[in-house]
């Protein structure tokens, strides 16, 4: 189900673009580009400074749309972790596209934040290169007497922080048989003994026996939000909203109730992998147990369970007059806690949209498989936007490592048994590719390359039957896990194919001041989530147009029909059908639960009209996508009069109708 067709191999992505992104933009360039987009837009794009980071960079937001417009808004936040340069380019590119076509901002206002974590974003452009999502606020990672005192060191001077492997008695790592560049954990139960210890590159700057345990970097803005916030985590910040960046977004979002959808460009992709449930601790609103001490006082039975509705009904009479019970009151009193899993009704939409998106990609010619995106982190912006704002939230990671072709397709088809029966000529006739594949399948040591083995056979040094006998003596071929981590294999394959092998620094010996003889090498940071900049344009051209498809799905409320029926004696019944013409429900199921999206309000007004039944201001709390709902009033009017019916929602639009009564 989750092996998905994506992005790589559909030839055109990798042809270099004629213009556009040649390299990723550093924070200063991003902010310059934001100003440029604004200046060239004749007032359509307005720039707001949301915050200044601890590192002193402005966190900017573009507001795109007609000034003073009251249409719903879409918030796009990119690179909240600061570790995905492509996502920042995506936000800039999206903004340019919208700024260039006023039609794209007529129905919605856009709030676009290309760098949600500017300090961390800047790290990609510094030497030595390493990945860290923390902003520039100092943090004492190792809880000692100093902060940020033991970061990485570029020992081999290549400007890249990779790994160090060192042979040690208590080593737990061994090289992967198929590709000695990669490492895997030794499995003691299978009789394997670890050889190496792995470290990130560096020295023990503070002499505490640990390496690089307190590198500069404070709060990862992306996980500084109040849903499932991880207290006392290294990069989560002291409390939700403790970073100026996250705090600015919390404030901004609640000050702008017109935000109807949130889109993030990041390392997750809800269009491919909808948010997952399955977390423990979710209260079941249909089966609530009442603790014994409370049950007694309130007349409940502690041994059975109740529905929320039953509890509310039972509690109402206990409250002082004038106080109305609501779910929040009960939930907080009983300590039921917050929702932790996506609502089923919302997941149905996520799954449907995901299928549609995959279809969209297929139509664009994307056929190769990619690795699944990461799931959102606890405390993340994406989770918060869904659970706390109650909005539809979509995320796009825009690129992932392509999965190498299934091994089976280019399997050698050779077995030890068949090898045993082969003549030397038959063996050589198999050709280098098949022999290479066979050697790899058998986990042959790297020095036994296909050419070398073929040479040995050609020279008569060894016969196929002898080879088979030798192989029988060797340990059974490596099981799948012994081939190494599939993602690392893919990363290596991508590096070899597209980066001229520069995505991996070959292991090289180095004399370390405290560890002695070590080898330095390993993957270059960012080569697992960041394609070469030259690929960016084609990736964005392919995927960004779908953002506009998502926006078309927003709920849109209309007064479909308003009708008057005379009841006699100057009494009239007014009936109005309210329709959600959009695809998405108003609000999401989560929004219904958390009651954060403001209801649409239906207002009935008319001079000389007396309201007999129904309200002047009626909240429309929810209306499913493509659904309609009827509202009824009874009014009395002595003579002819005109009644105006107004529907107002910041998130789902406004509409009005004039109704004539009498005459």
């Amino acid at each position: 189900m989750r092996s998905l067709v994506l992005f790589i191999g559909a030839g055109s992505f990798f042809s270099l673009p004629a213009s556009g992104i040649e390299k990723y933009s550093d924070p200063a360039t991003v902010n310059k580009k934001i100003e440029q987009i604004s200046q060239g837009s004749a007032g359509l794009v307005r720039v707001h400074k949301l915050a200044v980071t601890p590192g002193g960079t402005d966190m900017l937001m573009m507001e795109i749309g007609k000034a003073g417009s009251t249409v719903p808004a879409v918030m796009v936040a990119a690179n909240m972790s600061g570790t995905a340069p492509l996502s920042t380019e995506a936000a800039l590119s999206l903004a340019s596209r919208i700024a260039a076509d006023a039609k794209l901002s007529s129905a919605v206002t856009w709030y676009i934040i290309p760098m949600g974590n500017p300090d961390a974003c800047g790290r990609y452009f510094l030497k030595p290169l390493y990945m860290d999502s923390g902003n520039a606020k100092g943090y004492n990672d190792d809880n000692d007497d100093r902060s940020d005192e033991d970061g990485y060191n570029d020992l081999d001077g290549n400007g890249i922080i990779t790994q160090m492997r060192v042979k040690a008695h208590d080593g737990t790592w061994i090289p992967v048989a198929g590709d000695q560049r990669l490492m895997r954990r030794a499995e003691a139960v299978k009789g394997e003994k670890g050889i190496y210890k792995l470290y990130t590159g560096g020295v023990d700057d503070d002499g505490d026996g640990q390496y690089n345990e307190d590198s500069p970097g404070g709060t990862n803005v992306n996980i500084n939000f109040p849903h499932l916030f991880r207290s006392f985590d290294r990069r989560s910040g002291l409390y939700p909203g403790s970073s100026p960046e996250a705090n600015a977004l919390l404030k901004f979002a609640f000050a702008h109730p017109e935000i109807a959808m949130v889109i993030t460009f990041s390392n997750t992709n809800f269009l491919i992998a909808p948010p997952q449930g399955g977390r423990k601790g979710a209260a079941d609103m249909d089966n609530i147990k009442i603790p014994e001490d409370m049950a007694g006082a309130m007349g409940f039975d502690a041994s059975r369970t109740y529905t929320m509705a039953e509890i509310m009904e039972a509690v109402q009479p206990m409250l002082p007059p004038g106080m109305t019970v609501d779910e929040g009151m009960i939930a907080s009193f009983l300590g039921l806690g917050a929702v932790v899993n996506p609502m089923q009704e919302d997941l149905a939409y996520y799954n449907e949209i995901s299928s549609e998106y995959k279809e969209y990609l297929k139509k664009k010619g994307v056929t190769d498989e990619r690795f699944d995106p990461a799931q959102p982190e606890d405390g993340s912006f994406e989770l918060w936007a869904y659970y706390h704002l109650g909005l539809p939230v979509f995320s796009m990671d825009l690129w992932a490592l392509p999965k190498p072709k299934e091994e089976k397709k280019d399997a050698s088809g050779i077995t030890i048994e068949s090898l045993e029966k082969m003549t030397s000529d038959e063996f050589l006739a198999l050709g280098e590719d098949k022999i290479k594949a066979f050697l790899k399948e058998r986990g042959a040591p790297a020095q036994y390359s296909a050419t070398m083995v073929m040479g040995m056979v050609k020279s008569g040094q060894v016969k196929p039957a002898q080879m088979a006998a030798m192989m029988k003596q060797m340990p059974a071929p490596a099981a799948d896990e012994k081939k190494g981590d599939p993602k690392e294999l893919a990363q290596l394959a991508f590096s070899d194919k597209w980066l001229e092998g520069k995505g991996f620094v070959p292991w090289k010996t180095y004399s370390h001041p405290t560890l002695g003889e070590v080898e330095i090498g390993g993957f270059v940071p960012f080569t697992d989530n960041t394609p070469p900049a030259a690929m960016a344009d084609s990736l964005l051209d392919l995927q960004l147009p779908y953002v506009f498809e998502l926006v078309k799905k927003l709920p849109s409320l209309k007064i479909a029909e308003a009708r008057v029926t005379e009841k006699g004696g100057g009494v009239y019944q007014i009936e109005a059908w309210i329709t959600n013409e959009g695809y998405l429900p108003f609000p999401t199921a989560m929004g219904k639960r958390n009651k954060i999206p403001a209801p649409a309000v239906l207002t009935l007004e008319g001079a000389g009209v007396e309201l007999l039944s129904g309200k002047k201001r009626t909240p429309v709390n929810d209306l499913g996508g493509k659904k309609s709902s009827k509202y009824v009033w009874l009014v009395r009017s002595a003579g002819k009069s005109s009644v105006s019916l107004k529907l107002e929602s910041k998130q789902a639009g406004t509409d009005s109708k004039q109704i004539n009564i009498g005459g």
Binding site: D206, G207, G241, S332, F333, L334, V601
Partner: protein
């Protein structure tokens, strides 16, 4: 009856006058009336003026309506700057209606300052600690509680509007003070089909009719009209964001925690106080005063937090059990277990993110409103869901004969725009959760005494370099003992568990000496030491409450060696020893 009513009316007018009349604010402060917000400000300024050497008055921040939140710091500069001492923090009135909490804080400041240099106990706690006092957290709430019509329980929250009835309008239909007496009391109307009848024992009270009985009254809720014409009365009153559910530790959104606010620290004043406190990491003891019920509550305030570390429980037990005696009738309890679960409350924040021992003091027990002032009513009558009729009868007796009718408004007719002829009456806002001013002195003194007792138990660390011994050549053995006379350790156990900040540091250094090895002595007599493999010159330690900890350093070199103890909560100590044969 008639005579009594007119006396009551007179007393009411008098009470209203006392409230509005400007009191002269002089040091020593008086505690026979409730201070308005302006008077609290004036009182703090008066204390600051009277004791300029011992006090600092600061603006912590501003509220939603722009009022200043004041903090008074009491510190003797002759014994060191505030950050070099254990910090004791006390605040009150985070809930706008819980005003006597502010008086406890004012009294604490007044008590400490006016008795400094006179009473040994007070002089000692002032010299050894820094006191941080914020008498009124919810400054808007206090102002509106005095100036607007209120019930004893209304006007708790911050002035952040919320659309309770979801009609697109905010706070547009709260209760109304129909008779303009400053109170929101109850409305009732005569109704033979009603479900209530007058209590035969005290006709001011109502009791439910029994099946088959004829009713007399229908109750109509709190005083008010339908302000927004939506056919409902009082359905969208002010707020509600509860200042004590808006803190950023274990915060939960409003659908799971009523009054949480949209996000942690949405309250501008709440955020300002948090930042102000974070800038004072020496705070090791926090008291947050509220009303009501007579309780001292400790965390955790939610079950899934698990129990606190045993070492911290011992500290709380020691303090709590003593406080139960200092304030008779008050119970020392665990917040989630003995009361209810809360998310995002203040003391969980201070306990977990500031590393402070924290108590919520729930002031006043309405059960003491009896003729002899003792708790006459049975425990069983205490209920979360309102007082029993018998309790109300007793309180009315107290109202009639001890407060001469100040606490209760007799029913009187009123013409209501929707209901027609109705009656208004009931308990006034200055009742039920607040002691009558004649009982205030006792309440503020005892509860301030609880704070002073805790201040006497902050970590009080002494350093003793009890051995400097030459081993051979230039190798020396130095043994250091840290002794703590207070009940509180120098770092809370919860802080260590959370890894909130580094533990205290004991370090040894010398210009011509280096530390070869060092560690905590686990057995002094057998010479067992837990050596720290790396950086032995810097040891991370906690000095236990009412206890000691010993360290040993092997130092190679000569000359003078500095031994330094540095603690966030317990100050610093530096001693110098000479490595010398003489």
């Amino acid at each position: 009856m008639k005579a009594k009513r007119s006396i009551a009316a007179f007393v009411f007018t008098a009470l209203a006058m006392t409230l509005s009349q400007a009191q002269e604010i002089k040091v020593p402060l008086r505690f026979d009336f409730y201070y308005s917000y302006d008077q609290v400000t004036e009182a703090l300024k008066a204390l600051n003026t009277a004791y300029p050497g011992l006090t600092t008055l600061e603006q912590v921040g501003k509220s939603e309506e722009g009022r200043i939140i004041w903090a008074l710091t009491i510190n003797n500069p002759k014994t060191g700057a505030p950050l070099t001492k254990p910090g004791i923090y006390a605040d009150g009135n985070i809930h706008g209606n819980e005003i006597q909490a502010g008086e406890v804080c004012l009294y604490l400041a007044n008590r400490l300052l006016t008795n400094y240099g006179k009473l040994k106990e007070i002089t000692e706690v002032v010299d050894r600690n820094a006191f941080y006092i914020i008498p009124v957290v919810n400054v808007d709430g206090r102002v509106h509680f005095f100036s607007d019509g209120n019930t004893p329980s209304s006007n708790r929250g911050l002035r952040i509007p919320l659309d309770d009835d979801r009609d697109g309008l905010f706070d547009e239909d709260g209760p109304d003070d129909l008779d303009g007496d400053g109170n929101i009391t109850a409305m009732r109307m005569r109704d033979t089909l009603g479900t209530m009848k007058s209590d035969p024992e005290d006709p001011r009270l109502m009791v439910p009719v029994k099946p088959g009985e004829k009713g007399e009254w229908t109750t109509l809720g709190q005083e008010g009209i339908d302000n927004d014409g939506d056919g409902r009365i009082n359905e969208d009153s002010e707020g509600y964001v509860d200042g004590n559910r808006n803190w950023a530790y274990n915060w939960s959104p409003p659908y799971a925690q009523n009054g949480a606010g949209m996000y942690p620290f949405q309250g501008t004043g709440i955020r300002a106080i948090a930042e102000w406190m974070m800038a004072r990491p020496n705070i090791i003891m926090v008291f947050a005063f509220h009303n009501t019920g007579g309780m001292y509550l400790r965390g955790p305030s939610f079950k899934s937090a698990g129990e606190l570390p045993q070492g911290d429980i011992s500290v709380y037990n020691y303090l709590g059990q003593k406080i139960e005696k200092i304030v008779p009738g008050y119970k020392y309890l665990i917040s989630w277990k003995d009361l209810y679960t809360t998310y995002g409350d203040f003391t969980d924040f201070t306990n977990n993110l500031l590393g402070s021992y924290s108590f919520v003091g729930e002031l006043f027990q309405v059960e003491t409103e009896t003729f002899d002032g003792t708790m006459m009513r049975k425990e069983a009558e205490r209920s979360m869901f309102g007082a029993s009729p018998e309790a109300d009868r007793q309180r009315l007796q107290f109202n009639d004969h001890v407060t001469q009718g100040e606490l209760y408004k007799d029913w009187k007719p009123y013409k209501h725009p929707v209901y027609g002829d109705i009656e208004l009456g009931g308990w006034v806002k200055m009742s039920s959760r607040l002691p009558h001013p004649f009982m205030l002195q006792d309440l503020v003194h005892r509860n301030a005494s609880a704070v002073i007792f805790a201040a006497g138990n902050t970590p009080d660390v002494e350093m003793d370099v009890f051995e400097v011994k030459k081993i051979e050549g230039d190798l020396w053995r130095i043994r250091v003992r840290l002794v703590n006379d207070g009940a509180m350790p120098s770092v809370t156990f919860q802080t260590i568990k959370n890894k909130l900040y580094p533990q205290d540091i004991l370090s040894v250094s010398g210009a011509s000496a280096s530390v070869v090895s060092g560690g905590r002595i686990s057995d002094l007599y057998n010479g067992l030491v837990d050596y720290k493999e790396y950086k032995p010159s810097v040891q991370f330690c906690q000095v236990p409450g009412f206890g000691k900890v010993d360290y040993q350093f092997l130092v190679s070199g000569k000359g003078s060696v500095e031994i330094k103890f540095e603690s966030r909560k317990a100050g610093s100590i530096v001693k110098t020893v000479k490595l010398s044969d003489k």
